[in-house]
Structure formats: C-alpha cells, structure tokens
C-alpha cells in the first residue's frame, strides 16, 4: 500500500484539475496514476499548459464534483 496521500493539482492556465486518485481515463491516465509518473512532456488536455505550471491544491470537491472530475 502506498502511504503517500493522493494529490490534486490545478492547471494555472485554465483551472483544469488533475486528481491522482481519479486519474484521467478519458485521456489515458488510469485512476491512481501518480503525478510524478506522468511524463514531463505532458500538457494540460484543455489548454496545452506544460506540466510544470500545475499547482498542488488542497481543495475539496463540491457535491457530485468528483464524479464529474473523473469523466473530464
């Protein structure tokens, strides 16, 4: 079991969020994919902002938000 809690990160170009727990199945990233394991060449699927311009956030989901996020 991985002791590290899952991170959430937000794109500073557009606000798109990446949640390690949810991954981005629509974009080929399985749930549980760690941010560190995503290639440095990866860019925001919505706006093209490079990976290094995402910021870790500690913000919870609105009601129903995590379902919407996992389908983003």
């Amino acid at each position: 079991m991985n002791p590290e809690p899952f991170m959430r990160l937000m794109c500073l170009g557009c606000g798109f969020s990446y949640d390690e727990a949810l991954g981005l199945p629509e974009h080929g990233l399985a749930p549980g994919t760690r941010w560190a394991d995503i290639p440095e060449t990866w860019v925001c699927p919505d706006c093209g902002t490079p990976k290094h311009m995402f910021e870790m956030v500690f913000i919870g989901y609105a009601e129903g938000g995590s379902d919407l996020a996992s389908a983003a």
């Binding site: 606000g15 969020s17 919505d46 913000i59 983003a72």
Partner: protein, 269 residues
C-alpha cells in the same frame, strides 16, 4: 509579524499579444487585433513575479486594441474569473448553464465561476480600446456548478466611499471564496480606512488611476501593494490626486506552499 510587498507599475509582466500566427487561435481580431496585458502575478510567459496572493493567481490589467479583438472561445474549469470594465465595451460570451451573451461598459463587472467546466470568449466589438482588469482565483470547492453574475458600479453616485463590488456585503456579487473586491474613487486630501476581517486576511491594493499613500507607502498610477499577517487590521488610504481609482482585494491568506517558497527564494528583495 506583519508582512507587505510593493509591485511598481514597471515591475509587472508587460506583454503585447498579437492576433497572428499560432496566437490567432487564442487572440481574436486577426490581423490587426492585439492585447496589451500587465500582470501583477505570474501568468503564462511572465514567470518572474509573485505566484499570487492568497487564492488569487491572476491580476491582469488588460487593453483590447482594435475592433474584434479579445480572446476566442476557450475552456476553463474551477477558476473564478472576475472582470471589471473601465473603458470601451466588452462582449462576454460563456457556455455556463444555458449560456450567456453579455455586454459590459464602463463601470460594469462580472464574476464567472467556471466550476465543473465552461467556455468563454471576451471580445471588444467597437473601435474603441477596451480596458478591463481580470482577476482569477481558486474557488472554495472544485467542480462547483458554473455561475455568472454581473452588476454596475456608478462612480458618479459612489464617490469618496469604499464600495464592495464582490463579496458578502449587501448587493455585492457572490463569489465562492472568502474574498472581497472593493473600489474607491476619491479626491485629493481624503483619507479612508480599510479594515481587514481577521488576522488571517490580507489585502492587495492596486492604484488604477491617480495616487495614494497606503499604510505609509506612496503608490503612483498602476502601482500596488499587498498586506498580510497584520497586528493592526486597519489599513489607511490617503488619496493624493483627484479622481484616484483604487481597487482593494481582501482575501483569506490560504496557506500556500508555493508562495511561501517563492518568498523564501526572494528574501531581501
């Protein structure tokens, strides 16, 4: 310990973005349109300034030049985007809910919370330059239902008083964050006090026009200063010139590792 910083006009990130080449999908108004943008905080190619202030990540002082200039339709999530129009006319189009087409003129402002996702376009459709300040901030929760609210600030009737435009005051536009945006249009010699809500709140104060001495710091046109972690919640604003126009963003100072790391790396500057 009380903390403060000053950002002079020239220290902001100054960009001119033309509607040509690959940028023409981003900037509207090809071939003559161009946006001039002065960023108080890191944004896009400008990465040498402060990362932000509390949950605020963008404070952009922008002009759209040329009829049809602006930003083409593009997507957002989560960010709360506010625009305050000072000159010209802004056409705002968004896909939140059933969609919205809005026309904003001098004094008009909006709060667009992109939440679970929405596209927007920002266009100046007249030949007059459109001047607006754009504020982007992180929301209290991710994937909120998208919302759009707008209102008007009547500077003729609301002179020489601090007016809360966005926040929790009566008639202010609601925003999903512990944050308030106020505007003060005032004349030389007048003095005002902005009182912070708590020790955990800070204020970013931007002099759009005129001049003011804020907590003893002399600020000219387009200079700004930030104040946080204060013993004294009262910030004094002494107006230096007639028709000074001051924007105050008061916000909870979310414990932000990135901002703290930046301050550590830039200690003494």
């Amino acid at each position: 310990m009380s903390k403060s910083f000053i950002i002079r006009d020239h220290e902001r990130g100054h960009d001119t973005i033309r509607s040509d080449g690959t940028r023409s999908s981003y900037i509207a108004g090809h071939p003559d349109g161009f946006v001039t943008r002065a960023s108080s905080f890191n944004f896009h190619d400008y990465q040498s300034g402060r990362p932000g202030f509390g949950p605020v990540r963008v404070f952009g002082d922008e002009i759209f030049h040329g009829a049809g200039c602006g930003y083409n339709m593009h997507p957002h999530h989560n960010f709360v985007i506010c625009a305050f129009v000072f000159e010209g006319q802004l056409t705002h189009i968004n896909t939140a809910g059933e969609g919205m087409v809005d026309q904003l003129r001098a004094g008009d402002y909006y709060v667009f919370s992109a939440g679970s996702g929405g596209k927007h376009s920002e266009l100046s459709v007249t030949s007059e330059d459109m001047h607006a300040i754009y504020l982007w901030l992180m929301p209290r929760q991710l994937f909120l239902p998208p919302t759009y609210h707008r209102a008007h600030f009547d500077y003729r009737r609301r002179r020489n008083t601090i007016v809360q435009l966005v926040g929790d005051a009566d008639t202010a536009l609601p925003i999903p964050q512990d944050l308030r945006v106020s505007r003060l249009m005032a004349d030389a010699g007048r003095s005002f006090t902005y009182t912070l809500r708590s020790r955990g709140h800070g204020a970013y104060i931007f002099v759009r026009e005129g001049s003011a001495t804020v907590d003893g710091v002399a600020l000219g046109r387009r200079d700004s200063a930030g104040f946080s972690d204060r013993d004294d919640p009262a910030i004094t604003i002494d107006i230096g010139e007639d028709d000074s126009d001051i924007i105050v963003v008061e916000t909870i100072m979310i414990d932000d590792d990135n901002i703290k790391a930046w301050e550590h790396d830039h200690a003494g500057h």
